[in-house]
């Protein structure tokens, strides 16, 4: 950061702005009693975490959230992978129109779809089931998956699949051993986006989750909205809520990193 003081100031300011809210949040989550007049709390402990885990049955809720987000990632990937490959590797008439069409759910406010989709689920006989929950999320997340994978497939050579086929590999085998490993980084990024987006979803879950199915979002929202949860507990809940999505970020960044290293070695 030598040379340009303005740039240094901008970068330092950015780091400060990002990190600043996190520090009091962590301290607050460990604080027993933190009076307004005090800059630091009297004592630090994990009591807030213990209480929140006990009161909200956090392990079960986290498991629910992980299963839901993983199912959403998997379904989105299954639906989006081949269309993304088609759009990315081929030039055809109306390609721009197809891309705009696939992007439409991202542009529309979720509420427009969520108000009407209930009738579709009721007709299908899946209203407030696990399937309706996954579908209500997937419809908004497929475009993200396609949006990230299309540029990845632009640099992909479909010829290697033909070579694999001449060597006797089946279609599934080609997909698992040739296609997916070739787009590993893009796949990691797209899965990360979808997982984090699904993890953060509140409205679709509150409207279409089966009765008694709780996710972290469903617990967090009323805890903040109605202000009845003490700040120490709320801070602990907040940290527990974002840690899994951060772990997912770490994993996907690590996959991208190892991919880069492998490519450099090749």
């Amino acid at each position: 950061m030598k040379g340009n003081p303005i740039r240094t100031v901008i970068i330092m300011f950015t780091i400060l702005v990002i990190v600043y809210p996190l520090i009091p949040l962590f301290i607050q989550s460990l604080a027993g009693n933190w009076a307004y007049e005090d800059l630091f709390p009297d004592s630090l402990s994990f009591d807030n975490y213990a209480e929140i885990i006990d009161v909200y049955n956090i392990p079960k809720v986290i498991l629910n959230s992980i299963i839901l987000s993983s199912a959403v990632v998997l379904v989105s990937l299954v639906i989006a992978l081949l269309p993304a490959k088609f759009i990315g590797t081929r030039n055809f008439k109306g390609k721009a129109a197809v891309q705009v069409f696939t992007m439409m759910p991202v542009m529309a406010p979720a509420i427009v779809v969520l108000f009407g989709i209930g009738r579709v689920f009721a007709t299908m006989g899946v209203y407030r089931t696990y399937l309706s929950l996954v579908l209500a999320e997937v419809v908004f997340l497929i475009p993200y998956m396609i949006m990230v994978l299309v540029p990845v497939f632009r640099n992909y050579d479909p010829g290697i699949e033909d070579q694999a086929a001449t060597l006797g590999l089946g279609k599934l085998s080609i997909l698992m051993n040739v296609t997916l490993p070739s787009i590993r980084s893009g796949l990691a990024v797209s899965c990360m986006y979808v997982f984090i987006a699904s993890w953060a979803t509140y409205l679709a879950v509150s409207m279409y989750a089966p009765i008694n199915f709780e996710t972290m979002g469903l617990i967090m929202y009323p805890a903040i909205r109605f202000g009845q949860v003490p700040q120490g507990l709320l801070s602990a809940l907040t940290i527990i809520f974002f840690i899994p999505s951060l772990l997912f970020l770490f994993i996907s960044t690590w996959i991208m990193g190892t991919d880069k290293v492998n490519n450099q070695k090749v």
Partner: protein, 299 residues
């Protein structure tokens, strides 16, 4: 023995068959979009022309909605929050992307922190901002301990006020890293040749930025603005948790969820959602068109 013509014919027909086979997943994905996106939008459109009892009322629901004070206030409030947020986000993102463009010590850490911010769910951000920036939060306490404030009531209540500063602040905090990272990727893909040539010809930094760098970012700025606009304008969690007034989305959801179905407000939830859809589509369409146009001019 097959002739070269018949072999060529076979290759062309093989290609066509393959194209047809490859089209199947695209059709399936499109069907999902039609059934779970277009159809629900269509259902909402249809409902917006009827009473709850099923009586066709034409545009009456829309007229009633446009004439209602809560809708007018929500429209102004939503527009204000969206416009201010997007302008601040775009300007800050361009400045940040330009700042982290070149190599510097700590670049990896800076990029990681930006990604870290992107990974934060909106509900988490709302909770964090309340804990840190509210009247009785950490910042207020810090100012009090530093002697800047005499008591917490002197600290501006950004979450209860009618201006929506708390919502704007949180939206900006959430989106700037995401947009800056997107713009950074574009900046990395652009050759520095033109800028270097301009520099050797003695063109100043500000002129280089406005005449060379910014035009090459136009398309991406317009494109990311679309995503940003769609997210901010249609956001539910942040305005409902951090604002004291209704945006269009929170008003629609309030009418949908908290009113008796036979009340006119219930049907207004559908009309508001359709108005939201139309506004978002028109603005996104204009921005997308501008993005494509800028992209073509650039090429």
């Amino acid at each position: 023995m097959p002739t070269s013509l018949s072999r060529k014919h076979e290759t062309v027909s093989d290609g066509m068959n393959r194209m047809k086979k490859d089209l199947i997943p695209v059709i399936i994905s499109s069907l999902i979009t039609i059934i779970f996106f277009l159809l629900p939008v269509g259902i909402s459109v249809k409902k917006s022309f009827f009473t709850f009892g099923g009586e066709f009322v034409g545009l009456d629901n829309y007229i009633m909605t446009f004439e209602s004070k809560p809708f007018q206030e929500a429209l102004i409030y939503t527009s204000k929050i969206t416009v201010i947020s997007i302008v601040v986000i775009m300007v800050s993102s361009v400045i940040l992307a330009m700042a982290i463009r070149r190599t510097f010590i700590g670049k990896k850490l800076t990029l990681f922190l930006l990604q870290f911010d992107v990974a934060m769910p909106s509900i988490t951000c709302a909770s964090m901002m309340l804990i840190v920036m509210s009247q009785t939060g950490f910042t207020s306490s810090l100012f009090y301990n530093l002697g800047i404030l005499t008591d917490y009531s002197k600290y501006p209540n950004i979450f209860s006020g009618s201006q929506g500063y708390g919502v704007i602040l949180t939206i900006v905090w959430m989106f700037v890293p995401y947009i800056a990272l997107s713009l950074l990727a574009v900046l990395h893909s652009i050759s520095n040749e033109q800028e270097d040539q301009a520099a050797t010809l003695g063109v100043g930094k500000i002129k280089r930025f406005f005449y060379i760098t910014l035009p090459s970012l136009k398309s991406s700025i317009a494109y990311t603005s679309v995503l940003c606009f769609a997210c901010v304008f249609g956001s539910y969690e942040l305005p409902s948790l951090l604002g004291s007034r209704h945006t269009l989305v929170t008003l629609a959801y309030h009418y949908y969820n908290d009113t008796v179905m036979t009340m006119p407000e219930y049907m207004q939830s559908y009309t508001i959602s359709i108005i939201l859809f139309v506004i978002t589509s028109v603005v996104s369409g204009i921005l997308m068109y501008y993005s494509l146009l800028a992209g073509r001019n650039q090429q």
